[in-house]
């Protein structure tokens, strides 16, 4: 049962081959026997999951099945879930039981989906390896000594290891696509504003976006159908019709214009990864796509621009964690400053502290124009590069990450090299574009993802492009030996 896609599970539930309770129990059993090897869940909500499954079965019996009725899902622990611990991978929120649901969670609940639990992640989504989690690193199911990527590493590992048919992720600089690449799953970061950020703990508000992590593009379309849409509780949520993302999956790709940015195939890219990506592009050529080289000349500015904008916004967003209203509080504070300083000092880990310090510095008096405003300007140059490129091509393709998954501990002492593992994904967030990573092959038995970048609100086209690839390749059906 655990090797079925969501599309297959929906058919199975509809045909009465199994109930949601049976399906949910089988995943809970897998989590309980296998997650000890991975650490992909922070919280498993077994009782609640079985209650939701019972309810889903009853709704189906009454002819009231929603779009994802009875389908078990794992939720990244960044989404507020009412009456369930919502830690965001941080000691700071270890005591936090959310009093409300994120909009994404409400939408999944309304669709009849079942929540298996909350997945591990880098602390406050700041990290590219899942090693910054207060709850210890997640392991990559393809190679247990390797990282799963981050920050949505728990979600990626859980989906790859078939501990959940799908999961949610969030992506501020690559946090869906890079772990999807490292774990061999399908990950979609929608256009900024496509999915509500309400109740999704904020990291960098002008970049954050939630999306599905699944085994197939078709499943990603099924999840996005539920997740997308205007939410008046998120002022940056966009008022734009949501198409049926499954409706165009099979459109022909004949004549599709693919652009390959030369900057994404230059120094820093692992040769073997480059070969995997080139082979994937050839599959598209066989389907009638036309490939051309393009240039995104300001690509080299993406990482430095991001490492001003993201830490600046994070230092502002994380100021709410002050030990007063929720979350961790230090013992016996002497005075109010001591309360703030020690609660935050104890609650946050080193990477979060590093980013708060950078952001505080960049926003401080006398430096704001030189850093934050400067970065907002280079951000526009990066965005303009994409606008120019999309005048001539329909989709941009390249690697999702410069290498396959690295080993646990390998980059932890070297923050800048760690930051460069997001070199191909960060620009997409700065420009607010939709991006995907889909399994495209392996290097040394570790998965490699092909990145697809589309125009704003072109999620349906990206899913179509991804689905057609998955019809002619089987990389996405392969699973890590010990877990299939």
């Amino acid at each position: 049962m655990h090797n079925k896609t969501i599309a297959e599970l929906i058919s199975g539930l509809e045909a009465g081959e199994f109930s949601s309770v049976e399906l949910t129990q089988s995943y809970l059993d897998r989590i309980s026997s296998l997650d000890q090897h991975l650490n992909s869940f922070i919280t498993v909500t077994s009782e609640r999951a079985l209650e939701q499954a019972q309810q889903a079965d009853a709704q189906r019996a009454a002819g009231q099945a929603g779009l994802l009725n009875g389908i078990p899902l794992a939720q990244k622990d960044i989404f507020c879930t009412k009456d369930v611990k919502t830690s965001c991978g941080s000691r700071m929120l270890d005591p936090f039981i959310s009093p409300y649901n994120a909009t994404v969670i409400e939408k999944f609940n309304a669709s009849g989906a079942v929540m298996l639990g909350k997945t591990n992640m880098d602390e406050f989504a700041m990290g590219s390896s899942n090693e910054t989690s207060w709850y210890c690193p997640v392991k990559n199911p393809w190679a247990l000594k390797a990282v799963p990527g981050g920050s949505s590493g728990g979600s990626a590992a859980a989906v790859a290891a078939r501990l959940a048919p799908a999961a949610t992720g969030t992506d501020t600089g690559g946090s869906i696509r890079q772990p999807a690449s490292f774990c061999g799953v399908t990950g979609l970061k929608p256009t900024y504003g496509r999915v509500s950020r309400y109740g999704m703990i904020a990291f960098a508000s002008s970049l954050d976006q939630a999306g599905p992590m699944t085994r197939t593009a078709e499943d990603a379309a099924l999840l996005l159908n539920v997740m997308a849409g205007l939410d008046l509780r998120d002022s940056t949520s966009v008022d734009k019709d949501v198409p049926d993302y499954t409706g165009s999956l099979n459109n022909e790709l004949d004549g599709l214009k693919i652009g390959l940015p030369k900057e994404y195939f230059s120094e820093g890219l692992d040769d073997a990864v480059a070969k995997v990506i080139e082979d994937a592009i050839k599959e598209y050529e066989k389907m009638g796509a036309v490939v051309s080289e393009i240039s995104l000349p300001n690509s080299k500015l993406a990482v430095p621009t991001y490492y001003i904008i993201a830490p600046s916004e994070c230092s502002s967003n994380l100021s709410r964690m002050d030990g007063v209203r929720f979350g961790h509080r230090c013992e016996n504070p002497r005075d109010l400053n001591d309360l703030y300083i020690r609660s935050r000092g104890e609650g946050f880990g080193p990477e979060v502290k590093r980013r708060i310090l950078v952001g505080t510095y960049a926003l401080s008096e006398g430096f704001y124009d030189a850093y934050y405003v400067k970065a907002q300007k280079t951000r526009r140059l990066i965005s303009n590069d994409f606008n120019n490129a999309f005048e001539n091509v329909d989709v941009i393709m390249g690697p999702a990450a410069p290498s396959p998954a690295f080993n646990i501990g390998e980059l932890m002492d070297d923050p800048i090299t760690m930051y460069l593992s997001d070199i191909y994904t960060i620009a997409v967030n700065l420009a607010g574009l939709p991006g995907m990573s889909i399994p495209a092959g392996f290097v040394n038995n570790r998965p490699v993802g092909l990145q697809l970048i589309g125009r704003h609100f072109d999620e349906a086209k990206l899913l179509n492009i991804a689905h057609k690839f998955q019809k002619v390749t089987d990389w996405h059906t392969q699973g890590p030996g010990q877990f299939v």
Partner: protein, 96 residues
């Protein structure tokens, strides 16, 4: 290249109300210096005529009628606060 020293880090940490262990300060100073050094690349680009981009879709703030939409949920919202009394959040004495 500007190098941040111990007192810079202490000053920034205080602005952020962020406790940092004394022994970790040199490492943060190095990390921050390296990050700011990487960011230095941005200055190689002329952006005099570029408008800052605050929102990826150049969106503007959506306005709504000034109506009460949420119900008072104080007990639920305060249930997980570290310390409360009579509907108030408790903190150490601020005014002598």
């Amino acid at each position: 290249m500007y190098t941040l020293d111990k007192s810079d880090v202490e000053k920034i940490a205080f602005l952020a109300r962020l406790g940092i262990d004394e022994q970790d300060i040199p490492e943060y100073a190095t990390n921050l210096t390296n990050i700011l050094d990487m960011v230095e690349q941005l200055n190689s680009v002329d952006t005099d005529d570029v408008k800052p981009m605050a929102h990826p879709l150049d969106g503007v703030q959506r306005l709504r009628p000034d109506e009460v939409t949420e119900t008072n949920d104080r007990e639920n919202l305060m249930a997980h606060a570290p310390e409360t009394e009579a509907g108030l959040f408790l903190v150490p004495r601020v005014v002598e």
